[in-house]
């Protein structure tokens, strides 16, 4: 869109305003990073000090004393299992919606969409009850099931949109050459859908990594995930500023890397495949 803006000065104003928006976005992130490497003695100085000799004391502390790596490990176990389970189930379903003949296909797809719309706050109480009845309270399995309830509908709709973009002729040609439907899926379509599958997988991992409410209710002492570990820093009266900042940075960095990796697919992911972006 070079031509829609008439004058040079209008362009400068656009740059300035976007720049201001970027500042507004980044300040809290920079503040928390700054705090995470700030020596405890300077933490509450007035006026605040922005430049100092950085320290890793808070990072050292959250791993040595608060055992942050255990929370990270739990998050990773739950996240990866949720992702694998959702990708296997969800891409099969997405494929069948995109390609196969099913009676009332749109109705099924819509039902799955409705499942995604259910607020976690409304599902958490019934989910807690079921998980406890099944004897899965405080286990990884209970939490994986809970996380899959929101990631599976997401994967179905994402993969449906990716499969719809692959020309059906390629698959038909493979079937003419003697491949079965399964064969055509695994040899032709699946490799072509690989980038979409990877992006969907990373986004699913991210959703699970960030999830809080189910983890709060369903995880026990040995299965607590990272967001629970971080929320534990927030006491009723005081917060450990240095420690919680370090923990927050540890939680954010992998998410930022993952987010930038799938930037191209982010808009599609945010709209459940509705906008190709």
């Amino acid at each position: 869109m070079k031509s829609s803006v008439g004058s040079k000065s209008a362009q400068y104003i656009s740059y300035l305003l976007v720049f201001l928006f970027l500042i507004w976005i980044s300040v809290p992130l920079l503040v928390v990073f700054n705090q995470s490497i700030k020596p405890t003695l300077l933490m509450f100085s007035d006026p605040p000090k922005w430049f100092f000799k950085p320290t890793l004391e808070h990072y050292h502390k959250v791993f040595a004393r608060q055992q942050l790596h255990k929370f990270m490990f739990n998050s990773l176990v739950v996240g990866l299992s949720t992702t694998v389970l959702s990708l296997v189930f969800g891409s099969l379903a997405g494929y069948s919606f995109a390609r196969l003949n099913i009676k009332g296909k749109e109705k099924w797809a819509f039902l799955i969409l409705l499942c995604k719309m259910i607020p976690a706050g409304a599902l958490v109480v019934p989910m807690y009850y079921i998980v406890r009845k099944l004897g899965l309270a405080n286990t990884y399995v209970g939490l994986i099931i809970a996380h899959t309830t929101f990631s599976l509908p997401f994967v179905v709709w994402m993969m449906r949109s990716f499969f719809q973009e692959i020309p059906v002729e390629l698959e038909l040609a493979a079937m003419v050459d003697g491949c079965s439907r399964f064969g055509a899926f695994f040899r032709i379509t699946a490799p072509l859908a690989a980038p979409g599958l990877t992006a969907t997988g990373i986004l699913t991992l991210l959703l699970s990594w960030n999830e809080f409410l189910f983890a709060l209710v369903l995880s026990g002492r040995s299965t607590r995930t990272l967001p629970i570990g971080i929320s534990a820093f927030v006491g009723s009266v005081s917060i450990d500023w240095g420690g919680s900042s370090a923990a927050a940075v540890v939680a954010m960095v992998p998410v930022f890397i993952a987010g930038l990796m799938v930037q191209k697919y982010l808009v599609r992911g945010l709209t459940m495949g509705a906008v190709k972006g």
């Binding site: 976007v18 989910m127 899959t148 820093f233 927030v234 927050a248 987010g259 930037q263």
Partner: protein, 304 residues
Amino acid sequence: MESGSERITSFGRIKRWLGKNGTGYMFLAPTLVFLLLFIIGPIIYSFVLSLYEWRLTEIGKPKNFVFLANYVTLLKDHVFWQAMKNTMVFTVGSVGIELLLGFFVALLLWQLPRGKGLANSIILLPMITAPVVVGLLWRYMLDPQFGVVNYALRGILPSEMAWLGDIRLALPSVILVDVWQMTPFVVLVLHAGLCSISEEWLEAARVDGATYWQLIWHVVLPFLKGLIILVLMLRAMDTYRVFDTIYVLTKGGPGLATETIGIYTYKAGFSFFKMGYAMTLSIVSLAIVLVFSLFCIRMMREED
């Protein structure tokens, strides 16, 4: 052999049906079974349980059937109505500001000849950050004594503000946090929409002598209408279910100032142990979401 051939035909029919639909259903089955077992099942079950009065502490004991008493209690429960009101204010406030600000920033971004990629990479960061972490970030920012916000406003405001501790400021502060986190969502989606408007359309309008604002009003907005409704729906459903950020920022306080329906449902079940009532709250808030989203989807269908 009458019955035999009949059997063959009906067997043939099943086989034909399977041939046509079988693979499709086979691919679909794991997902449907999972969702049936762990979403639809629990919800139906929790509707049944919402007709009982029972406490979390007595999970194994027989429950007391009260029919719709929990629903009657809910209608008379002033905390529920306060939570509903807060949720609505939070939803309308957050989504309204995010949509306006987001559309404006998306327009600006669209007009930049260079630097879009870099700007997008920064803009996406807040919305992929865990809501718990976002809550924590803003606890620092809004801290009355050591927070950056009060420091920056020193001299402008008469005194230091307890943003999250003041009964009048808490809800607007929480809205501010959501605006910080989720305006980027609106920016990215609408920007993607703007980039898909064909250059020829815009050129045609310009040749006809349209000014910038006429262009926005008569070409851009009608083009984006469906997308704006989609963004509106996704954002509203998300703000309606808000839990994590508020849990970390205020836990619903001070008093009931930021108590939302999500927070109240959680408290009813896991702080007050009133499980039957918590399930009643779940069912009611679920019904509201479903009605709202069906309405939005119908609107989008008409748009298409």
